[in-house]
């Protein structure tokens, strides 16, 4: 080979090698796409939450139309697990072993995520921004590949407990909770937050998702003489509980859990006038809240829904949730740049300091660190005045 071409070859290699060294890919990432996996309950008893998966898919479609992330398109692969843990295990294995996704994102449900918790960490594939408020996902020492997203249920309940202790120290508390992981997690938070004042709770009643109504439980709570009511119910049952309490003339100070905060999906069916005085902890902007009608973030969200998810409900706050998590992961991926290894995805997700997604309430931020795998830990208390959620006090948590 001629000397000059050898030199030319050596020089071009010298330039090419660092450039090649900058792009790092794990399975699922390439020059052109990033494969993200997900399981959601599109069928079965929890199918109401399936809209989160659909709104995330729509968000990624919008991102791709806008050019993707750093020039790469998102290939979002989502499977139905019917809220059944064995199915989640099967689908997670398919995503990791067959579809070879870069990471798994927003898998929904506490039992579903528990079932794949060990597996994902063993395989060293990120179990990113799980769609559940359970507290156990914030454990970077033992499970470095798992991270939550939303304010945990226990943290939320502790804030309610503090508020009760401050404003009504002699209260008699009645609790209605869904008899599953989600309900029990909130209950634990209340117990922990009350500490040795746990005796303030005079009655705890549960219900199953398969129960037709919770009327009997509300009647029991009224009969117990409680004057503070912690309402740990999912949307359908929350509406029933709020309505029944009003109808039987029971007027406690009612704390409603964040899952059922939707004005369009819960309070309107319950009856807006029956929901006056409800207190909750919010961290997202609610789409039917009058005060956000012209808010630029919500306006943008509405346009997104119209164009990319027209079948989705405009009154369902779950669709704002899906949009918000989409924005979060988009930022994580942008921060990754060309280093799309699983390890870097976790590292970038664990280095978000005070990042704002505009659909979050003002003052609520996403912050993570190597010891802090809980992106959102704050929220603000708000009270319903018949038309909108009016925030009061400070943004709590950090």
């Amino acid at each position: 080979m001629k000397r000059s071409s050898l030199v030319f070859l050596a020089v071009s290699l010298a330039f090419a090698l660092p450039a090649a060294a900058q792009k790092k890919y794990d399975p699922g990432a390439s020059d052109r796409e990033i494969k993200i996996g997900n399981t959601n309950p599109y069928s079965g008893p929890a199918s109401a939450y399936g809209t989160i998966g659909k709104s995330i898919a729509a968000y990624f479609r919008m991102l791709n139309d806008q050019g993707g992330i750093n020039g790469r398109k998102i290939n979002f692969i989502t499977y139905d697990d019917g809220y059944s843990p064995p199915k989640t295990v099967e689908m997670a294995r398919k995503l990791v072993e067959q579809d070879e996704v870069l990471f798994v994102f927003q898998t929904l449900g506490t039992p579903s995520n528990t079932a794949i918790h060990k597996y994902m960490n063993m395989k060293k594939v990120p179990q990113m921004h799980v769609a559940t408020g359970a507290t156990k996902w914030n454990d970077p020492k033992n499970f470095p590949w798992t991270m939550g997203w939303q304010t945990s249920y226990q943290a939320e309940a502790r804030i309610y407990a503090q508020h009760i202790l401050k404003t009504k120290p002699n209260a008699k508390i009645g609790v209605l909770y869904q008899n599953d992981d989600y309900g029990k997690d909130y209950l634990k938070g209340l117990h922990d937050g009350l500490g040795d004042k746990k005796g303030m709770i005079v009655k705890e009643v549960s219900y199953e998702v398969s129960d037709p109504t919770v009327d009997s439980q509300i009647v029991q709570l009224q009969a117990s003489g409680a004057d503070v009511f912690f309402n740990i119910t999912t949307p359908k049952f929350a509406a029933m509980a709020i309505r029944k309490a009003y109808d039987i003339g029971w007027k406690p100070v009612q704390y409603l859990n964040n899952v059922s905060i939707g004005i369009g999906s819960v309070l309107t069916p319950a009856g807006l006038e029956k929901s006056v005085g409800l207190i909750t902890l919010g961290y997202l902007k609610e789409p039917t809240d009058k005060q956000f009608e012209n808010d630029p973030a919500i306006v943008k969200w509405r346009e997104f829904m119209k164009k990319y998810y027209p079948d989705g409900s405009m009154v369902d706050n779950l669709n704002v949730y899906g949009y918000s998590v989409g924005e979060t992961i988009a930022q994580v991926l942008r921060q990754c740049g060309d280093n799309l290894t699983r390890e870097n995805v976790m590292r970038q997700a664990a280095s978000m300091k005070g990042y704002r997604v505009d659909t979050l309430l003002p003052g609520v931020m996403i912050s993570t660190g190597p010891d802090d795998f809980a992106p959102i830990e704050s929220g603000q208390l708000q009270r319903f005045n018949g038309k909108e959620w009016v925030r009061f006090g400070d943004v709590m948590g950090h």
Binding site: T51, E208, S210, P212, T213, S216, Q217, V219, Q220, K236
Partner: protein, 289 residues
């Protein structure tokens, strides 16, 4: 004492919900000697239909009547198109067809209407009638269920068509010999059951809210109520429904606590069936050897 009374009243209200679906189940059994597991989903779908009509601007009662009519026709069509091909298949194969129907209707409803709950209007006035114990709608719904019960009773007992339907279900071969068109009797039975189901759905939607999974919890209790009362007795279905509703509430509030309420209620129902296997008002069947 007041707490107990309150629970009983709440139980009667929920029981009314069970009773109305149990009526539809008994209806279909009366006509075909089969229990249609998809009855609940058919009722749910009818209710969504009514919701669409009302949402498009139609006033309540015309929408109600139109939905009942459409459901009646739909029931006949389902029998002819979906059930007819398997009429000679083993019973369990037909059960699987019912299950398939249930799953399809549930999934399609979720796809078309999403899973967000929808409030459904009530035709009854809003002021409380029975003090705080029962809402006017719950009272009205019970009333409608009783009306449907009386109508069904009169139909089966005193009309030739009702007699023909009962004959076709009990003894198809002999019924044919006397000139009854058994095939059409079955289809008619399905139509009527679908219509009763539509009424049930529209009466319970204001109470339990309209969503695709509205009926899944109720089906088991309605089934239990229908059997408790005697599967071939409409009166039994209604009494059974109220009994199950009250039992569930009283047990859950005063005896066992809400955590095991469901299991205990079911154990009790099965226990009653062990003592009286044909239910309270059912006919004890005696087979000739």
């Amino acid at each position: 004492m007041e707490a107990f009374l309150h629970q009983v009243m709440a139980g009667l209200a929920t029981g009314g919900v069970y009773a109305s679906l149990a009526l539809a189940l008994v209806m279909i059994y009366h006509a075909t000697h089969l229990v249609n597991f998809a009855q609940g989903e058919m009722a749910m779908f009818s209710t969504y239909l009514a919701w669409s009509l009302i949402d498009a601007g139609m006033p309540y009662w015309p929408a109600f009547a139109l939905t009942v009519g459409i459901s009646f026709v739909a029931g006949i069509v389902i029998e002819r198109v979906v059930i007819r091909p398997v009429e000679h298949a083993p019973v369990l194969a037909v059960v699987v067809v019912f299950i398939a129907l249930l799953v399809i209707l549930n999934s399609v409803a979720g796809w078309i209407y999403t899973y967000t709950i929808k409030p459904f209007p009530s035709p009854f006035p809003q002021e409380m009638a029975l003090g705080r114990f029962m809402s006017p709608h719950e009272l009205g719904a019970i009333g409608v269920t009783l009306l449907v019960l009386v109508a069904l009773f009169l139909f089966f007992r005193f009309t030739p068509l009702g007699l023909a339907m009962r004959a076709a279900a009990q003894n198809p071969a002999s019924a044919r010999l006397v000139g009854i068109r058994v095939g059409w009797m079955l289809a008619l039975g399905w139509g009527l059951a679908a219509a009763v189901g539509a009424v049930a759905g529209m009466m319970m939607a204001p109470i339990v809210y309209l969503d695709p999974n509205m009926m899944t919890g109720i089906l088991l209790y309605a089934f239990a109520a229908a059997l408790l009362g005697g599967i071939d007795s409409p009166l039994g279905a209604v009494v059974g429904g109220f009994a199950v509703g009250v039992l569930e509430n009283v047990l859950g509030s005063f005896v066992i606590g809400s955590e095991l309420k469901r299991s205990v209620a079911l154990v009790l129902i099965v226990g009653v069936l062990l003592i009286r296997p044909s239910g309270f008002f059912g006919k004890v069947s005696v087979t000739r050897v």
